[in-house]
């Protein structure tokens, strides 16, 4: 399995470009083996996330979205690649950075935007907000906002599948800084010990908020944490949607056939600040560093690979992008038109009867 570079140096541009070229050709090679409609679907989903998140940033600036809002821009290939391998009955758990996975899973962009705006038509009736997206019908089991706390939940859903002898698998997304918290270790141990069909996907975007991971983790290759639990593990270039798809596909097969967990480290990068309240650069990373990573953009790379093998054309990309921008506009209209929750909603859904 190809592993992405974790070096954060921007010194040698030529070398980076060389690595870029080989990564792109690897992407093109993978693309050749796949059906054109699937490839187009992956591209559309990544574009949808990008445009949706850009719009969310705008609405946040306008004050229509409040609270904490963690954008997925830069990391689209991880969510889209990973979720593309799931079946309709599988489960997904996320951290608070959950818009991308929700869209990748097929959540209605209107319901998502309405949730961000705190409206009743939101996927969680406006009670969860950006960090707590839920859609039971899609197997989307939530955005959870305490770092690491949803790993045991994911292990539990996988436990339920095994208990009920259902062939489901569970994907669990979390950030790099999560590998240091106790719940990560307790969950990995339980998952391997009890042979649970769960795939832990560590989205290593290099920073836990504003602190580089090498300042907080005692090892560099985070997926090696799995060794302590005798668990299968892999690192993958998280800017390559098909590499992610392949790695997760292997893990999903292992989970479905042998009921065994996997830890995958997807090396990626977020372009925006940790949340909308944070600057994109200036404190913990330079503008040059950010720009360097943007050149490895997962969407641009995928487009150029697909154009290279003749699956899509420039016109197709423009047309698709325009269509997606329109979908996002419609999502905003839907959110705007959706009703604010009334006072009767305040006390509802605290207890089941």
């Amino acid at each position: 399995m190809k592993s992405g570079s974790t070096a954060r140096s921007v010194a040698n541009v030529t070398e980076t470009n060389g690595a870029e070229t080989s990564a792109s050709s690897a992407l093109a090679e993978r693309a050749r083996r796949l059906d054109a409609s699937l490839l187009k679907d992956l591209l559309e989903k990544m574009l949808l996330i990008r445009r949706f998140e850009e719009k969310a940033a705008e609405l946040y600036a306008l004050g229509k979205i409040g609270g904490f809002c963690h954008l997925y821009i830069g990391q689209e290939a991880v969510g889209v690649g990973a979720i593309s391998f799931l079946g309709p009955d599988d489960y997904i758990f996320c951290s608070y950075r959950d818009h991308g996975q929700a869209l990748a899973r097929g959540m209605d962009p209107g319901a998502l935007m309405a949730e961000l705006c705190g409206k009743t038509a939101g996927c969680s009736k406006g009670k969860g907000g950006s960090m707590h997206l839920f859609d039971k019908r899609l197997g989307f089991y939530g955005g959870h906002a305490i770092v690491g706390a949803h790993l045991p939940l994911a292990a539990g859903a996988a436990f339920a599948s095994r208990y009920l002898r259902e062939p489901r698998v569970t994907l669990c997304f979390f950030g790099d800084a999560t590998v240091n918290i106790g719940s990560f270790h307790e969950s990995l141990n339980l998952a391997q010990l009890w042979k649970l069909p769960v795939i832990f996907i560590c989205e290593n975007n290099e920073f836990g908020m504003g602190t580089p991971i090498e300042k907080t983790a005692s090892i560099v290759h985070l997926h090696e944490r799995a060794c302590a639990y005798n668990m299968a593990h892999a690192a993958v270039d998280g800017m390559d949607v098909l590499a992610v798809r392949d790695a997760v596909g292997e893990a999903v097969e292992r989970a479905r056939k042998d009921s065994l967990p996997t830890l995958i480290e997807a090396r990626t990068y977020r372009y925006m600040g940790h949340s909308m309240s944070d600057p994109t650069h200036g404190i913990y990373r330079t503008k040059a560093e950010l720009e360097e990573h943007r050149r490895k953009d997962p969407i641009k790379r995928f487009i150029s690979a697909l154009e290279g093998i003749g699956v899509i054309t420039q016109e197709y990309v423009e047309e698709t992008d325009n269509r997606i921008r329109e979908i996002v506009e419609q999502a905003v209209v839907f959110a705007d038109q959706s009703r604010e929750p009334g006072p009767e909603e305040l006390l509802a859904d605290v207890y089941l009867p």
Binding site: K136, H144, A149, Y163, A348, Y351
Partner: protein, 326 residues
């Protein structure tokens, strides 16, 4: 009616509910092969097998969180914590997870789970193993909190807790496990949120839960000799609280004493005082008094430990004060 221990009544409740619904399973430290640290799960591994009775690592956060996730995906877990002292390690999963999942998902995910095990003070176990933490859980919307004081209540309430679709914190008493009493066979269900008048009386209302019910009953016996007729009420469920029964009693007696093992500041008794003064102010003939644990970490020394928790004498003294009979 069969006579059995409090622990046996709990065991019977779990066994019956596991026979009734195969989505119910038990997990926790030592619940399987060891039959439970306090033998509450005796025989369940043999009867139901390792698929449904699971010995966990010592990892409260992990296995409690796993249970919450399993509940999201259709199961009905019973989590045994070896003692509630250790439940603090899992508090995030209970408070931020189980209690809030229904609300923050807009009503999509209920958590039908029971978190059970022994709580309260025990004998010379010192500060970290001997304390009453129910007030912590009572504070949280989304949780129900149940504390049975007798074998019959233990069975009837645990069966209801297991069938409840909400997360229920079920705090047993470490020192009552060996207590014997009549326990109805089969479908003995006690609804959550219903108090029980353990001793009817006319002069003063004494409200107590868990082990303190027995302290209050002993105090009532002493008071009877003085010609004071105390009504002892056990709320049994602390959240939701059966305020109606307490208010009705107060309307009759006009005076109340609340007994609890926990710390006084922001304790369960403080909440009950607030509800009673708001709903029955005009019926009160004296300030409501509280008897609680001392505001200190539990000491080890027997002589100090004895001073740290309510006993019948301190309850009798409070009743005399509330009746102006010093």
């Amino acid at each position: 009616m069969p006579v059995m221990q409090y622990r046996e009544a709990l065991n019977q409740a779990m066994r019956e509910e596991m026979l009734r619904d195969d989505r119910v399973f038990l997990l926790g430290e030592e619940v399987g092969a060891y039959n439970g640290a306090y033998k509450v799960s005796r025989g369940l591994l043999d009867e139901f097998g390792p698929h449904r009775v699971l010995d966990t690592p010592i990892a409260e956060l992990g296995f409690t969180g796993l249970a919450v996730g399993a509940a999201m995906a259709g199961l009905r877990p019973i989590v045994e914590v070896m003692t509630f002292n250790f439940s603090i390690l899992a508090l995030d999963q209970v408070v931020n997870g189980a209690a809030k999942m229904l609300y923050m998902s807009g009503g999509q995910f209920g958590i039908p789970m029971v978190l059970r095990g022994p709580g309260g003070s025990a004998h010379q176990l010192a500060a970290q193993h001997s304390q009453a933490l129910e007030a912590w859980y009572c504070h949280v919307p989304g949780l129900k909190v149940v504390m049975p004081a007798t074998p019959a209540d233990a069975k009837g309430l645990l069966k209801s807790a297991i069938r409840d679709d909400n997360p229920v914190v079920f705090i047993e008493s470490e020192v009552l496990y060996g207590m014997k009493g009549d326990v109805p066979e089969g479908e003995h269900m006690i609804p959550l949120g219903v108090a029980d008048i353990k001793r009817p009386g006319n002069d003063v209302t004494v409200i107590a839960h868990s082990k303190m019910v027995h302290v209050a009953m002993e105090a009532a016996k002493e008071l009877e000799a003085e010609g004071i007729d105390a009504e002892v009420i056990d709320p049994r469920t602390l959240r939701p609280l059966d305020t109606g029964t307490l208010v009705e009693s107060l309307k009759k007696t006009n005076r109340a004493v609340i007994v609890e093992e926990g710390w006084p500041f922001c304790g369960v008794g403080a909440q009950i005082v607030d509800l009673l003064q708001a709903q029955a102010f005009d019926y009160l003939d004296a300030p409501i008094l509280r008897v609680s644990g001392a505001d200190v970490p539990t000491p080890y020394s027997k002589s100090l430990e004895h001073l740290a928790f309510p006993d019948p004498r301190s309850v009798v003294a409070a009743v005399r004060r509330v009746l102006n009979r010093q």
